[in-house]
């Protein structure tokens, strides 16, 4: 916690740099399918192009009710994407919306493509990842120094995933490997994933797990089957996914197996983190005879090797100090601000900055709002910034 003399920041505009570690373009299949490598995926690409409704015919995305019903973003999975202001093209739009919130740099993660886990056909999954990465890099990342990307891989095909990582690892602006966090056919701790972790580790790229409501039906089929409301999918998908992912990764010793790999958890807020660390510790101490790979408390492994993006931090209006307390308990050095624009639960920088400002010193706040993301993802920020 801070002393008064160390607190000079009063508003997000006082920060030199704000990095949103999770930004979205709300990609449409028709935008990136043309970028699928014709030579490698020509056959399946021809079939993919015949899908009139990719969300149903390639992906298997279902909701209990139409998304965001009775709002201006009704049935629009991009959230506020068609409500917020727009520029001349999608890149301009993205930068314009970041400007609106004084966000200097953003790491782009997918929206539809987070549901790659729901794609049944292995070739289609690999081809879609290929097209998405090509489109994102060519049209956005290579066009501006304000955006970075995590390369998306299809875990249905680990060999293709490794190829994709190797194809993109050394390109400017590629800073992580996005695995998705919800609905995988094979859990993220299984040895099936070994080639992907090994490749990410070899190329010094953090692996990121971004959960998604759109794969709730695959991640939590029983709950999804009985959900009456779109909101119910939304509420459980993120924390349930990440609790499971973190438990599986930590308890089964994946950080020990890949000692130089960094793990990043996205989109599930921060309130669950202290609870989960304590619970993992509690049962490691009581049942750790099953975990010979784990040579220290799970909370210490998490502190050493895991990072979490903050959005959505929670409802901060009632007791702002609780947000600061949760931040303190979760471990401020392991948190990175994320805005998640333009999705419907996005956080403007003030959503995190204001409640934590009275409780932390300037350096901690600068870290949370940008510097930790710069360090974790090794962002090559222009020196004139």
């Amino acid at each position: 916690m801070a002393t008064e003399s160390e607190q000079t920041l009063n508003d997000p505009s006082d920060l030199d740099i704000i990095v949103s570690s999770d930004e979205h373009l709300s990609e449409k299949a028709e935008e990136f399918v043309p970028y699928i490598d014709e030579e490698k995926y020509g056959g399946i690409k021809r079939i993919i192009k015949q899908a009139e409704d990719p969300w149903r015919e390639l992906f298997s995305i279902t909701w209990p009710l139409p998304a965001f019903s009775n709002t201006d973003m009704a049935s629009d999975p991009s959230g506020a994407g068609n409500v917020m202001e727009k520029g001349e093209n999608k890149l301009d739009t993205k930068l314009l919306r970041m400007d609106k919130f004084d966000i200097d740099y953003g790491i782009i993660n997918p929206t539809l493509m987070l549901s790659l886990s729901t794609v049944n056909n292995t070739q289609a999954a690999a081809a879609l990842a290929n097209g998405y990465n090509n489109w994102l890099f060519q049209e956005f990342i290579s066009q501006t120094d304000r955006l970075y990307m995590c390369v998306v891989v299809a875990p249905q095909d680990p060999d293709a995933a490794v190829e994709e990582i190797e194809r993109y690892a050394d390109k400017d602006g590629v800073v992580g490997v996005q695995l998705g966090g919800t609905g995988h056919k094979i859990p993220v701790s299984h040895e099936f994933w070994d080639p992907i972790y090994a490749a990410a580790e070899e190329h010094d790229l953090p692996v990121t797990f971004h959960s998604t409501l759109n794969a709730t039906g695959h991640g939590f089929p029983e709950q999804h089957r009985w959900h009456e409301l779109f909101a119910e999918d939304k509420v459980i998908s993120h924390p349930f996914s990440q609790m499971w992912n973190v438990m599986k990764l930590v308890y089964e010793g994946i950080p020990q197996k890949y000692p130089d790999l960094t793990f990043v958890i996205q989109e599930s807020g921060i309130g669950w983190i202290p609870y989960w660390k304590m619970r993992l510790d509690r049962f490691h101490l009581g049942l750790g005879q099953e975990m010979p790979m784990l040579d220290k408390l799970p909370s210490k492994v998490i502190d050493d090797r895991f990072y979490f993006m903050t959005q959505p931090v929670g409802h901060s209006g009632r007791e702002p100090k609780h947000i600061a307390w949760m931040t303190e308990m979760a471990g401020p050095e392991n948190l990175m601000f994320s805005a998640d624009i333009p999705h419907s639960d996005f956080d403007a920088p003030k959503e995190l900055f204001d409640p934590i400002k009275p409780h932390f010193d300037d350096e901690t706040i600068r870290d949370l709002m940008g510097q930790t993301a710069i360090d974790v993802f090794d962002l090559d920020i222009p020196t004139d910034k």
Partner: protein
Amino acid sequence: MTKHHIASEAELDDGDRLFVEIEGTEIAVFCVDGSYHAVLNYCVHQAGPLCEGGLSGRLTAEPPEFDWSYDDEPRVVTCPWHNWKFDIQTGENIRDEEYKVPIFETTVEDGEIYLHW
């Protein structure tokens, strides 16, 4: 440091343990392969009777394969309340050395076991 007589070696077979009270403190003395290990009968978790739990070896897993093996040296006592496990030779919790229970030095003189308090 005071020397307290515990028992004669003949009274403890391998694998046995003996509970003694010294200045109001309950301590267990374990006999393992001819050595004697004295541990406070108190779990630092929730004050359970640690040394009343079973004594066993432990699973191990070493890189790079991390296959599970079993080290059968009986040096791990498991608290019967919540299964926290401590090494009777070091007092350290085997899951994380942050947690530790007091252990005490023992000696054998002319077939008699002593605990140094």
